[in-house]
């Protein structure tokens, strides 16, 4: 009998998926959203936020390393789970089962893949890009506000970003509640408040992210 180690057993894999996902959610997605909101308050606020963030180099690098580890674990385990599940399920010929399975749950591999593509594009758009300098009360700083504004003058970019935020919302709405069930916290099938909160948080976060390119386009 093939004996998987604890972490590669079916429940172990999902614990790793849940943990790496929650780390990215708590340590990256939420702070990132907080930063994005500052964009709405204009160039002064947003550029100053970016400048102060870069002064915290050890923290930024620490989080970047943590994110790299988390995304690697998340993708590796995600692939393993999806492939194993494909193999374990046999195709039915008569399709008409219950509607219990949510669209978000069904699309987890698709939305996950979309998020990966998005991250690459997003890094190319803003992180690995030469930034203009701007005068911030005497010292020079990166004009990230201007960069974001310039990027989203192109409606194609705006549509791309908004579309991919739908994937983020779908992924989160299943992920948040499902990860808790994996940790052993009972999420009931019907009338679960945690399921509802999970969906509301997902919608709120995806819309907050999606509103930035739209506002930048209008400004």
């Amino acid at each position: 009998m093939k004996n998987n180690s604890t972490w590669l057993s079916s429940i172990g894999q999902k614990l790793l998926l849940a943990t790496s996902g929650l780390i990215m959610f708590l340590m990256f997605l939420i702070p990132h959203m907080g930063g994005n909101i500052l964009f709405l308050f204009g160039p002064e606020m947003f550029n100053s936020y970016a400048m102060h963030l870069h002064q915290l180099v050890p923290v930024v690098i620490g989080i970047e390393v943590l994110m790299l580890i988390s995304i690697s674990v998340h993708m590796f385990m995600g692939f393993r789970v999806v492939l194993a599940n494909k193999k374990a399920s046999d195709k039915r010929h008569s399709q008409k089962s219950s509607k219990e399975r949510s669209l978000a749950a069904k699309l987890m591999p698709v939305s996950g893949g979309m998020i990966f593509i998005f991250i690459i594009k997003h890094l190319l758009d803003f992180t690995f890009k030469a930034k203009e300098q701007v005068d911030m009360h005497g010292h020079m700083a990166n004009d990230v506000y201007g960069m974001v504004l310039a990027r989203f003058q192109d409606p194609v970019h705006v549509i791309f970003y908004v579309l991919f935020m739908v994937a983020v919302g779908l992924h989160l709405s299943h992920a948040l509640q499902s990860s808790l069930q994996t940790y052993g916290l009972y999420i009931p099938r019907e009338g679960s408040k945690i399921k509802l909160v999970s969906m509301l948080v997902a919608i709120a976060m995806a819309s907050t992210f999606a509103i930035i390119p739209i506002i930048a386009f209008i400004r």
Binding site: T6, S9, N85, K87
Partner: protein, 251 residues
């Protein structure tokens, strides 16, 4: 007074080492008071007279307690989602003139043996891996030496209602046996009698489940809808907790 209905059945026919296919049969004048299996019995009688090999399907108690029967009827395990086994599903649930697709439980570890019969011995192997308790021989112990809270006894009995029919595996988009394994782990984890092997049980049963090629649970809860005994996903959460606890103990 019972009514009769006419149905068109598209039934999965498959012999060993052969690709399966759907064959269409007419089921005429079906008594609406008959159970689904009784309807198949009548169809088989007619097929036998015509010289066609009867449809093979598994059945035993026909009282909804043994876990033998079960096929997908129009994609639904046991033909309905109303907490009933196929043998306890009555033909009054169907409409005159309906066409029903009847196929075996689908999951990679459930090989089709013949027609609607699949090999569910994987579930037995999971039980063998840890679904038991050690008992001392000798006289039956005095019942009140091991008091059990009413709520725990109830929850253990709810889990023990599982008849091991495999509907959860067939309903799962991932072919996972988590609900089955969760029910078996839960019924022992909740009672003091199950505690001596508690740590090893959950590890061994999950290991066996994985080794047999059952899929991973992605918390989509199709299993709980399909379960004829209403086993709740609460048990899956408990299985996850048992697994975490068992592995923390080792560390």
């Amino acid at each position: 007074m019972s009514n009769t209905i006419n149905l068109t059945l598209k039934v999965w026919r498959q012999s060993k080492d052969e690709e399966g296919r759907f064959e269409t049969y007419q089921a005429n004048d079906v008594d609406t008071d008959a159970s689904f299996l009784e309807m198949l019995d009548v169809v088989n009688e007619e097929l036998t007279i015509k010289g066609v090999e009867p449809i093979a399907f598994e059945h035993d108690c026909r009282e909804g307690i043994c876990g033998c029967c079960g096929t997908l009827v129009d994609g639904k395990t046991h033909g309905s989602h109303e907490r009933t086994t196929l043998c306890q599903l009555h033909m009054r649930k169907f409409k005159d003139g309906e066409t029903l697709a009847i196929e075996p439980f689908r999951a990679h570890p459930f090989k089709v043996l013949k027609d609607l019969i699949v090999d569910r011995s994987g579930l037995d192997a999971i039980i063998t891996a840890g679904g038991y308790v050690s008992v001392k021989t000798g006289n039956a112990p005095e019942a009140s030496t091991t008091p059990i809270k009413k709520a725990d006894a109830e929850a253990a009995m709810d889990a023990a209602e599982c008849i091991g029919c495999g509907a959860c595996v067939a309903a799962c988009p991932n072919g996972s046996a988590m609900l089955f394994t969760a029910a078996k782990v839960s019924q022992y984890a909740l009672l003091p009698q199950g505690h001596p092997e508690r740590t090893e049980r959950v590890k061994n049963m999950v290991n066996m489940m994985d080794a047999l090629g059952f899929g991973n649970c992605s918390n989509e809860y199709e299993c709980a809808v399909a379960c004829p005994k209403g086993i709740d996903v609460k048990n899956i959460a408990r299985l996850n907790r048992e697994f975490i606890k068992a592995n923390l103990k080792k560390a």
